[in-house]
Subunit: 341 residues, 2 copies
């Protein structure tokens, strides 16, 4: 069937007629370099772990209408599906090896869409250093859903846990916070934040659409961090998880924000809430014992990852944020819970 | 909120208010015995592979309205979600170790439902010898979907591939074929196949609802099979996959059927099609070189798994099925394709 003329729906054209075609044409090429994927012609994949490594597993599906917009560019959707999983590995000090992909499609996809989706996966896996090794495709009566389960490796015994932060440990955060929550605002509503420049809007939307897992921080993270996690549900919610029973008094001014985000906050200070509680940053939060702070900072510099010291964890105090006058900031939406929307 | 009185919808009652409650109350207990799951309190799970083993991965989600009925008993849904994945491991000669669970729920589940679902997972994982180690829960605008990614182990180099059957290899099948397709008929429509006894109906529905992965066949499978897969998309479709470029002339009478299925076929011979093309058997199909047939059969007997010889693979012939008169049986629905419904 030739594509209909004058059909301007992005990506519409030839539909893929069967599962084997979809898998062999678009997905099997993503297994090159992973012999245990058997070109997606077996029912299971094989992985021979290197001696002296532990394996790390994480699985975070993304669903249209929940985690992304169905009309988003397929390459961006694919990137995000893999990136959010690689980010969890980054927080554990692990290096991605391989992933399983479960595609639930509301209809047989057209070739342009599928081709762009596969391109997005290819860029992401090349960037993160892993291969597709297996998975499944289904038609679903529900929305497009992309389930990635990723497998990584860490040197034996060097997995960095979420729990383990001690009194006095410094909390570090990578990169800048809040871009993605603001990016979602401008991506979802082109009339939002009208005072931003086109470049700032594109930067923020890009941070939402194409998060970059902080995999390069692995060596100093494994060497020096007592605990770590990635920020997926909002800075404060994930900071509370890192702190466990401990607390922190955090000056808002210490939270690293991008130039674009600073410009937004200058125009609309209520968006402080988006910086503190908005999700999808995919930066790393970690606790580092005081004696290791300098070495950790040098390691991060060598890795080329900017890290910022948010202060030291203390006992018997709550987690709170102070503005520049020392006044506590009320946080209206303390991070993201999938069950309390 | 107390359950509404006189509310007779099965399982309706208290709803689970948040994700942490759902995970910690119902899912975390399923990680007992797997220290690397960290009680589902980390963002990733850790697995230290035993030296000398290869790891095997497979991932087969099930979706309400596609692979099961949303109104099915939650313990049955849970069992099936894990069993279909364990069955893929069984076909590779692998032993289940651990699984990741991605639950996409159309609404916050009520406690009775979730409790029964967790019970079903518990029975299944105890039966198959694995533990929950991680995953994710989401609310979805779509139907209930349960994504399991399972990890198994095989002794290094002993993974049994789907491809590898040679000319002259005997094709063996475990158990009985077609029960599940017939079970789906009676489960989905209580007035179907009226001549069956209640016991026969229950047997067939049970084979559909609670498939039993043939994990015990591992040792003889690894020792003697040249190729294997499980029958999920119908005997003939999966037989064609096993045979690859080879063919087989199969006497219908050699296909093992249960007493209940034989009784159905006696009443309605058109249901031969359900036996040949219906999915969800989760029995194993394997090719065994002639010199190993006797040893394989002894091994299967020791394992307590019934196996049946369907004949030897030949070159330059098609795959076809003959009835008792030697007449080829036309197969109208050559197995299941998710894209050609």
């Amino acid at each position: 069937m030739p594509p209909a003329p004058f059909n301007d729906r992005p990506g519409s054209g030839d539909r893929i007629a069967n599962e084997t075609d979809l898998i062999q044409t678009y997905l099997a090429p993503l297994t090159r370099g992973a012999p245990g994927a058997f070109g997606l012609r077996d029912d299971a994949a094989l992985l021979s772990p290197e001696p002296g490594t532990d394996l790390v597993f994480t699985s975070d599906p993304i669903i249209a209408g929940v985690h992304f917009f169905a009309a988003d560019r397929p390459a961006d959707i694919a990137w995000k599906a893999l990136a959010v999983n690689a980010s969890d590995l980054a927080a554990k000090g692990a290096r991605p090896l391989a992933y399983m992909l479960n595609l639930a499609l509301p209809e047989a996809p057209d070739r342009d869409w599928m081709s762009a989706f596969a391109e997005g996966l290819k860029s992401a896996q090349e960037s993160f250093g892993c291969h597709l090794i297996g998975g499944d495709t289904d038609l679903t009566p529900g929305p497009l859903s992309i389930g990635v389960t990723i497998v990584g490796a860490v040197p034996q015994g060097e997995f960095v846990r979420r729990q383990g932060a001690a009194i006095g440990d410094h909390v570090f955060v990578t990169g800048t916070i809040g871009d993605s929550a603001l990016g979602l605002l401008v991506h979802g509503d082109p009339s939002a934040l009208p005072a931003l420049t086109a470049e700032e809007r594109a930067f923020l939307a890009g941070r939402y659409l194409r998060p970059m897992p902080r995999l390069a921080l692995g060596p100093p993270l494994r060497a020096y961090a007592s605990a770590a996690l990635d920020i997926s549900d909002g800075l404060l919610k994930d900071l509370a998880r890192l702190a466990g029973p401990l607390g922190l008094t955090l000056d808002f001014g210490l939270i690293p924000v991008s130039r674009a985000a600073a410009s937004v906050l200058a125009q609309d200070p209520t968006l402080t809430q988006a910086v503190l509680g908005g999700g999808d940053d995919y930066e790393l939060l970690m606790a580092v014992p005081p004696a290791s702070v300098a070495a950790f900072q040098r390691g991060a510099e060598t890795a080329g990852i900017p890290v910022h010291d948010l202060g030291a964890l203390q006992e018997n105090i709550p987690l709170r944020v102070l503005d520049s006058d020392g006044t506590p900031i009320e946080v209206s939406r303390f991070g993201y819970d999938h069950f309390s929307r």
